[in-house]
């Protein structure tokens, strides 16, 4: 009776998509499991398998997991928004940060009026509450993009939370 040897472990998602044999030394296998086909499909569509392979070969092995995750995040963002990709999130967050800084300055200025008889409120750097004029201007990054719309700039919910 012929013994039927068990098949080798299943191909990784990358080799399945690329329709090639998944070798034991496959650089994609540890990071693109066969049960997550969409992850590699997205990364492949945006960056290309060859470029991803080169990037992974450039980073230390212990950092490849994070590298793949950040590439997957970028790819997902680019597929959702082919014009701005991750840059939309950056512009939105920068604007949000400036808004919060302004609001915080206003709140602290009001607190200072209430506690006029108390020692002045110092910020984290030990200096007086900044005036509105000292705060960074809004825009800046977004000004580099002609078509970035106010709709894009207000919908943070489209960008998964990395934090």
């Amino acid at each position: 009776m012929r013994n039927h040897e068990p098949r080798a472990s299943s191909s990784c998602a990358a080799c399945k998509l690329l329709k090639r044999r998944c070798t034991p030394s496959c650089i994609f296998a540890p990071y693109f499991r066969s049960d997550e086909p969409k992850k590699f499909a997205k990364v492949h569509k945006v960056f290309g398998a060859s470029n991803v392979s080169k990037i992974l070969n450039e980073v230390p092995e212990e950092q490849r997991d994070e590298t793949v995750n950040s590439l997957a995040y970028e790819a997902e963002a680019r597929l959702r928004d082919p014009v701005y990709g991750c840059i939309g999130a950056i512009a939105l967050l920068q604007r949000r940060m400036v808004e919060l800084q302004v609001d915080l300055a206003i709140a602290r200025a009001r607190l200072a009026r209430y506690s006029a008889s108390s020692p002045p409120i110092l910020n984290d750097h030990g200096s007086m509450i900044p005036t509105l004029a000292e705060l960074p201007a809004c825009g800046g990054f977004a000004d580099c993009f002609s078509q970035i719309s106010s709709d894009t700039m207000n919908d943070l919910s489209q960008f998964p939370y990395i934090f």
Binding site: T67, S70, L100, A107
Partner: protein, 182 residues
């Protein structure tokens, strides 16, 4: 008499790819020859073929912004091969979160002052009834007034947090603060 001035100057992409820059080259409007590094970065990270496909899927008026965002992402990835521009996103998320907490604390103090109390380390009282009874100028600054979603801080509904970055505020390898800037 030959008169095409555009023929004489291949774009940065065609120079890099060592091919003839034809009239109608999709790269030419966005990769001028005086910015060779821009295309070099984009080519390294995304590849010319992928960029071509992407641009062909967009309307002409969208292509300039698309190329600029690709160039930005490519440069970020060249500088930080592990995190790329995702590092900047994570940094900014942390800053936004920190500022929101500080604003909440300041607003809580404002409420206490309005109620003639000295600010303490106690958490802000729940509910907004004490806020609504205050005069407008005494009300806490509504930090979420410009937000289109609730709560003032976003979480994609129905989408799990994809992963936690071992954030170190700097591109890969460093542990000091102040990173994330391009």
């Amino acid at each position: 008499m030959a008169s095409s001035s555009s023929y004489n100057c291949p774009c940065a992409a065609c120079k890099f790819l060592r091919r003839k820059c034809m009239p109608g080259c999709i790269f030419a409007p966005y990769f001028p020859p005086e910015e060779p590094q821009k295309f070099a970065n984009v080519h390294k990270i995304f590849g010319a073929s992928n960029v071509t496909k992407l641009l062909n899927e967009l309307l002409p008026h969208q292509r300039e912004d698309a190329v600029n965002s690709l160039a930005y992402e490519a440069e970020a990835r060249v500088r930080d091969p592990v995190y790329g521009c995702v590092g900047a996103i994570s940094f900014l998320q942390r800053q936004v979160h920190r500022l929101q907490k500080e604003l909440e604390a300041a607003n809580a103090d404002l409420i206490r002052y309005a109620c003639n109390e000295v600010p303490t380390a106690l958490p802000a009282p729940p509910g907004a009834s004490s806020i609504e009874s205050m005069a407008p100028r005494q009300r806490p600054v509504e930090y979420n007034r410009r937000m289109g979603n609730e709560g003032g801080y976003y979480q994609a509904p129905g989408m799990p947090m994809p992963y936690n970055l071992p954030w170190n505020d700097n591109p890969s390898g460093d542990t000091d603060g102040g990173g994330g800037n391009m």
